[in-house]
């Protein structure tokens, strides 16, 4: 993947040299040309095109923005309700993610969406203990977290 990005940057620089004008716009144009060159090369050299990952990152970002807004609306409901009827709790959520980097990203995203807060990890890093501001149903909450972010993170890293 690093090799592809390097190649893409090289194509952009060569493009600037061919145009003989070194402005950011030319660089950007050269980069887009490089993406197309790599797209064609992909069928010949059989590598995993890195823009797929960029697209996955973009999708993760969109998902996170949506969750951020939805969860904030939930938070408004809890904080402004006349009587506090929410039932907080700490739930152990197992995760399929394996590397430290993935688990850290998942924990940070969980902490950033309102209503959930990652408190601790198990020794092997495979279980995250999450404090949730409202746990009506334990299994549902675990499934919710696994469905939401885990899949999107797996798409980025694998």
């Amino acid at each position: 993947m690093a090799f592809q990005i390097l190649l893409n940057l090289l194509i952009a620089v060569v493009w600037m040299a061919l145009q003989n004008s070194y402005t950011p716009v030319d660089f950007l144009f050269g980069y887009v040309v490089g993406i197309f060159v790599l797209l064609i090369l992909r069928t010949v050299l059989r590598f995993d095109f890195y823009m797929r990952r960029v697209y996955a990152v973009f999708k993760l970002f969109l998902l996170f923005s949506k969750e951020l807004i939805m969860a904030n609306i939930d938070m408004i409901r809890i904080v402004l309700s006349p009587k506090l009827t929410n039932k907080p709790g700490i739930v152990a959520v197992p995760t399929r993610l394996s590397s430290d980097w993935e688990v850290t990203l998942l924990a940070s995203l969980i902490s950033l969406t309102p209503g959930t807060l990652s408190m601790d990890f198990s020794e092997d890093g495979r279980t995250i203990y999450i404090h949730n501001i409202d746990v009506p149903n334990r299994e549902e909450m675990i499934k919710d977290i696994q469905d939401k972010f885990e899949k999107a993170i797996l798409e980025v890293t694998r």
Partner: protein, 126 residues
Amino acid sequence: MIEILISIFVLIGGFFSLLGSIGILRLKDVYGRIHAATKSATLGVVATITGTFLYFLIIDGEFSGNILLTILFVFMTAPVAAHIISRSAHRTGIKLWEQSTVDELVDTYPEKERQLHQQAEKTERS
């Protein structure tokens, strides 16, 4: 027209920051207050900073990258702080609110720290 859009962004940001403060006052335990302080603030900060960024971009015609970096740094530091505060609070035996349903974290602690939790519950009752 564009000023109205910017005002909406800044007002949303202000509203969520206010909501965070109300949450700190109303929720009963440390963990709930961490939720209120860090979470409502994230959307509040994002909305306010987006408004500021748009103002400088459109009205002054200046692309200020360091304003956008503020969002990045808030997003990087807020979860870490929340994680460490809640973790150390729970380890030193601070009780959850009575309405809490489950606590699966305390079971994983070594004996000594679990005793700390039981002591805290006893002093609460007496």
